[in-house]
Amino acid sequence: MNRKTAALAFAGASLFAITAAQAAEITVWCWDPNFNVAIMKEAGEIYAKTHPDFKLNVVDFAKVDLEQKLQTGLASGVADGMPDIVLIEDYGAQKYLQSFPDSFAPLSDKVDYSGFAPYKVALATLDDKVYSMPFDSGVTGFYYRKDLLSQAGFQPADLQDLTWDKYIEIAKVVEEKTGKKMLAYDPNDAGLTRIIMQSAGGWYFDKDGNLSIEGNTALKAALEVIQKIQTSKIFRPAAGWADWVGAFTGGEVASVTTGVWITGTVKSQPEQSGNWGIAPIPKLEIEGATHYSNLGGSSWYVLSASAAKDEAIDFLNEIYAKDVDFYQKILVDRGAVGSLLAAREGEAYKSSDPFFGGEPIWQTFSDWLSKVPSVNYGTFTNEVDSVVAAHQPELANGTSVDDVIKAIDEQAQTLVQ
């Protein structure tokens, strides 16, 4: 019996192909086949033109999957099969840098960071060293339906310098005149809260990375806006991401305020061409408030255990930090807005888009990109964010902002300890 089992097992084992990592190849882990993966492959092809020996192997996983793998790999200390370059979402950057010191290679000696949007550099800085190659930006904009807003009596010029209070007033008029809600909003998602908070230079953590909930003026002001939006009923409730997207692509609401990466989705409805416009997001009325913010975005990191570390860094530096033409290509092909400010000098960035009534939207976004306030995303952004999201619905039934902040603070304190 044992012999038979062994024979079967052996027959099975011989069917397996053992794939060992090849040293001469740069392996990259990232998510999103049509975006990050495609863009990285494009970068690899450009670099290979001047470096014929260069071979790039891009492996795609879902974002949560990649984080799971990275976490397991780094925690177990097994360097085997780990990539040379990995994409990390900006919100999680400090968590990885601080939890796994020395696992990532500092790039500040090789890369000139002065050309990048400052907030993208700040979020990957630890102890005066910068670890990331800044990649796509989530610079935010207020996308609105020109047709609906003009029906309600508002022209593009009226929308360029809004405050959130003014925004809510406009929303009421829009509903009165057009019957459409101003925005789709999911009370269980804190994305809008984060946008508003960062626009005033605030975050769940202070500049030193300590939890900052009570006494955080930006967070308080943001939650006050969220409460007004909820109690004034100017939103169409959205249940989850797909429903939220469906609301504005389906013409049910008059605007959407989110990261620039939504442009492709907005444009997925050709029949709405010419009806959309963009404006800076509304602003808070507190000190440090701006019209600029960010939602999401990610950056490339080089693992210090990589056998091809120097080559990986050179590759990233040559393409992502210097090649303006590359940024034109990924903007046109993939709708990707990078963080290299010089990219705006290229043709694609200067072009105007008929979908947005011929506005040069990329120049505009590029302007805003350079002005996004820098914040410290800390080590537990995603954890604290889920606490905030859980408490947001309470704002609708009249619980005071102070009470909600207190509840968030208590829960968050136990999480980050």
Binding site: M1, T19, N34, V78
Partner: protein
């Protein structure tokens, strides 16, 4: 009598209504998946519940983005080998636990059952380190090995073996069969419905397994279908149509196995509670 009949009729209405709701709940996601495979992403998001015309387009997207033959071969290879090995090893263990008495048998058995309570997430990092030491990271062997001695399947076989007639074994012994011959020539054929049920359970578990293959497989050419579908669905604007094609294709083998062995499965499940 009339009131009794009414009562009975009423209760059967309640039962069928309940069963109807449950049947709908189980069928709906499947129906939604099949309909989704024929619609564009924006229609899927809008919640369109009728068949569309994008089946071909979705299929083209799926097959250009995914090296489907290789990925399905990976999944099939892992699943078949893991299923065969799991059935062999775990049924042997279950049989042994029931048939051969020893001083430590029950203690050992309890210890083994306790491992069922350890969540896999807790085992993952040590297991990953182990595979790293063995040099098996990014191989399909690393996916198969941890599943072959399955505490649950051992438990299942031990329970079923209680129904295996001792007389058969005694008779076989008298006829001069060795222990391994009894197992392969008498036990296995007699217990085939138990094997069929276990086959379905293991096949589905391995085919759908996600977390461990995810952690241990590192490159595009070793990935299984579940990982590929997950990666397709993770995007700023995912192509849900292509994802649905993937899920439909990934469901077919399990459906096929289940329908082919349904009768034995039911028999096997009944057998285990005798």
């Amino acid at each position: 009598m009339t009131s009794y009949g009414l009562k009975q009729r009423f209760s059967s209405v309640v039962v069928y209504a309940f069963l109807g709701v449950m049947a709908f709940l189980s069928i709906f996601p499947f129906l939604w998946m099949v309909i989704g495979a024929t619609n564009t992403t924006s229609d899927i998001i809008k919640g369109k519940m009728s068949f569309g015309e994008s089946l071909l387009l979705n299929a083209t997207t799926f097959f250009t983005q995914v090296n489907a033959p290789l990925i399905f071969w990976n999944s099939a290879k892992i699943t078949i080998i893991a299923t065969v090995l799991t059935l062999l090893i775990s049924s042997l263990a279950g049989y042994g636990f029931e048939i051969f008495a020893s001083r430590f048998r029950e203690k050992l058995y309890t210890l083994m059952l306790l491992t069922l309570m350890i969540p896999f997430a807790a085992l993952m990092i040590p297991l990953f380190m182990l595979m790293g030491k063995l040099g098996l990271i990014n191989t399909h062997i690393a996916v198969v090995l941890p599943t072959v001695a399955s505490a649950f399947i051992i438990f299942y076989f031990r329970q079923s073996t209680k129904a295996f007639p001792h007389e058969l074994r005694d008779a076989a012994r008298v006829d001069g069969l060795k222990e391994w011959q009894i197992f392969f020539l008498i036990y296995m054929p007699v217990m085939r419905s138990t094997y069929a049920a276990a086959f379905i359970i293991v096949f589905m578990t391995v085919w759908n397994s996600y977390l461990w293959p995810l952690v241990v497989l590192q490159s595009n050419d070793t990935k299984t279908i579940t990982l590929v579908i997950s990666s397709l669905g993770s995007a700023y604007y995912p192509d849900y149509g292509a994802v649905m094609i993937g899920t439909v294709l990934a469901t077919i083998p399990t459906l096929f196995v289940f329908f082919a062995m349904q009768r034995q499965f039911v028999e096997g499940m009944l057998g285990s509670v005798k």
